[in-house]
């Protein structure tokens, strides 16, 4: 079994229900996110539209975070999930530097690395990840990539525009997008300008450690 995720961006309406469900389920501290929805505004007024892209750990088959972790705190489990053992993590931030998707953060409460685990604890009890359950439009499709009859495999078979983020990195992500454009998946395809955020002057909790 190799579990994977697919987000149909045609369906996603940016409600952030998945974000909140994840926060609650995993008790993710303030100012950190295992899953977040990125908004990108496209076009020039009045011809504008807003795109929504849920971003989470890609659970790569060839995960750079697993490779660089010096103590195997990040490790694969049999179903393909890249899991994390917070008790073992030494907080070197090697995984933060290695992940091309910016999906790993240092938990300000435990001072250890953390990230989306596809709700491994729920899956162990035969439940779906919290974000899948919370999505009101069924945009999150989750299942076994090795089973050709699973929802996710059939979705991939039925759609021509299935993409992953940064395929050139050779990480073989187990996280797919349907209906995505460069604007959704490539961080260099959009500008980040001061004053254009929906919420400006966002404050974050002190992270600890020694950052600039």
């Amino acid at each position: 079994m190799q579990l994977g995720f697919l987000v149909d961006l045609h369906l996603c309406m940016g409600c952030k229900g998945c974000e909140i469900a994840c926060k609650v389920e995993n008790e993710v501290p303030l100012s950190t996110w295992r899953l977040r929805v990125k908004y990108v505004d496209v076009g020039t007024f009045p011809e504008t539209k807003r795109t929504f892209t849920p971003l989470r750990c890609n659970h790569c088959e060839n995960a750079p975070c697993e490779r660089i972790c010096p103590v195997s705190a990040l490790h694969y489990i049999e179903n393909g999930i890249v899991n994390i053992d917070k008790e073992r993590c030494i907080g070197c931030a090697g995984c933060v530097m290695a992940c091309p998707y910016g999906a790993i953060y240092i938990d300000p409460e435990t001072q250890t690395a953390d990230k989306c685990t596809y709700c491994a604890h729920r899956i162990a009890s035969s439940m779906m990840p919290a974000c899948v359950v919370a999505c009101p439009v069924g945009a999150n499709i989750f299942g076994d990539l090795e089973d050709p009859k699973s929802n996710i495999s059939m979705y991939i078979q039925d759609h021509r525009d299935v993409q992953v983020r940064k395929p050139e990195k050779g990480t073989n992500p187990h996280h797919f997008y349907v209906g995505a454009s460069q604007v959704n998946l490539n961080p260099l395809a959009s500008r980040r300008e001061e004053g254009y955020n929906l919420f400006n002057k966002i404050t974050t909790l002190p992270l600890g450690g020694h950052h600039e």
């Binding site: 996110w33 977040r36 929805v37 990125k38 908004y39 990108v40 505004d41 496209v42 076009g43 020039t44 807003r50 971003l55 750079p64 490779r67 660089i68 972790c69 010096p70 103590v71 195997s72 073992r88 993590c89 030494i90 907080g91 070197c92 931030a93 090697g94 933060v96 530097m97 290695a98 992940c99 091309p100 998707y101 910016g102 953060y105 240092i106 001072q111 250890t112 990195k169 460069q182 604007v183 490539n186 961080p187 260099l188 395809a189 959009s190 500008r191 980040r192 300008e193 254009y196 955020n197 929906l198 919420f199 966002i202 974050t204 992270l207 600890g208 450690g209 020694h210 950052h211 600039e212």
Partner: protein, 307 residues
């Protein structure tokens, strides 16, 4: 392609909370800088042993002690940069050998252990229980310590290579830069430590290593600066931080001048004038400038948003 689409789409991120930009800050710069001096001094001691063993007596003790101290500075900053420093022992009890961090930690520990033995032998030369001829044992151990110094110098390049998210850091280039940083700072340090104890011929030799290391490192940085952006758009975006007129562009050029260009000029002047003051100044500048060069190259890839 991205520039064209950006002009057409006018895409602006209006909600995202990316990671705080710089995770590995000046503590990691200190780590790389101190390690370069620590291993570089060992390389230079070994070269001196091969070239002119009679001059070893003047620098054996001071060089190994300074190297040992710098390696401990390196280990201290490595430890201090961890968010859970008291779990450092996990590296030894739960080692994950695909990680360059693990391999480096083990090798650096053995390296520092051997250096401690060598320093202890030199300090307690007359009362040393390990050997009757401390100098001879030191010189034998130096071969093995020099061999170990190679991977200890290089493993940081391995970490940078494993940092898949940071396109700027490529393994072959970083490996060469790590070795050159060690030969640059090692030759500078031994020139400062040796002082009048070194003959003019030996000083000339180390001055040449200093000048050539500076030249080669400068060539590599300039090659990346000019040609790096022709291969990957991520590298283009990263190098923009040192090509504009922002703080990192200023720091980048200060580093290049202080670590490489000025020492090269001063070494050339020294070879003509034989002025020790000029060589001393070149050595001090190289060591100070190396910190700035390493810091800029460490930080700029972290400024790029990954989402």
């Amino acid at each position: 392609m991205i520039h064209e689409t950006l002009a057409a789409t006018n895409a602006v991120v209006t909600l995202d909370v990316p990671l705080p930009d710089v995770f590995w800050g000046w503590f990691v710069t200190m780590n790389m800088w101190a390690k370069s001096i620590g291993t570089g001094l060992v390389f230079m001691l070994f070269l001196l042993l091969r070239k002119n063993a009679s001059e070893m007596s003047g620098v054996r003790t001071s060089a190994i002690i300074v190297s040992f101290v710098m390696m401990n500075v390196f280990l201290l900053f490595t430890l201090a940069d961890l968010h859970q420093p008291f779990r450092m022992w996990h590296i030894f009890f739960y080692p994950h050998w695909t990680s360059a961090i693990t391999v480096g930690a083990w090798m650096a520990t053995v390296f520092v252990g051997l250096e401690f033995l060598m320093a202890a032998m030199m300090i307690r030369k007359d009362k040393c229980l390990l050997t009757s001829d401390a100098n001879a044992t030191f010189d034998k151990l130096l071969f093995w310590v020099t061999l170990l110094a190679i991977p200890v110098t290089l493993y940081t390049a391995g970490i940078m290579a494993e940092a898949t998210a940071r396109e700027l850091w490529q393994m072959p280039t970083e490996s060469v830069q790590m070795i050159l940083a060690a030969t640059l700072s090692g030759s500078a340090a031994i020139i400062l430590l040796g002082g009048s104890k070194l003959s003019d011929e030996t000083k000339n030799f180390f001055a040449s290593i200093l000048g050539l290391s500076a030249l080669l490192a400068f060539i590599i940085y300039m090659s990346e600066y000019i040609f790096g952006s022709m291969k990957a758009e991520e590298v283009t975006a990263i190098l923009a931080y040192v090509k504009g007129d922002g703080e990192y562009a200023t720091m980048f050029w200060i580093g290049q001048w202080v670590a490489y260009i000025l020492p090269m000029i001063l070494v050339a002047l020294y070879r003509v004038s034989k002025s020790n003051s000029i060589l001393t100044l070149a050595a001090i500048l190289a060591i100070a400038g190396l910190w700035v060069v390493k810091h800029v190259w460490l930080v700029i890839p972290q400024l790029l948003p990954l989402s």
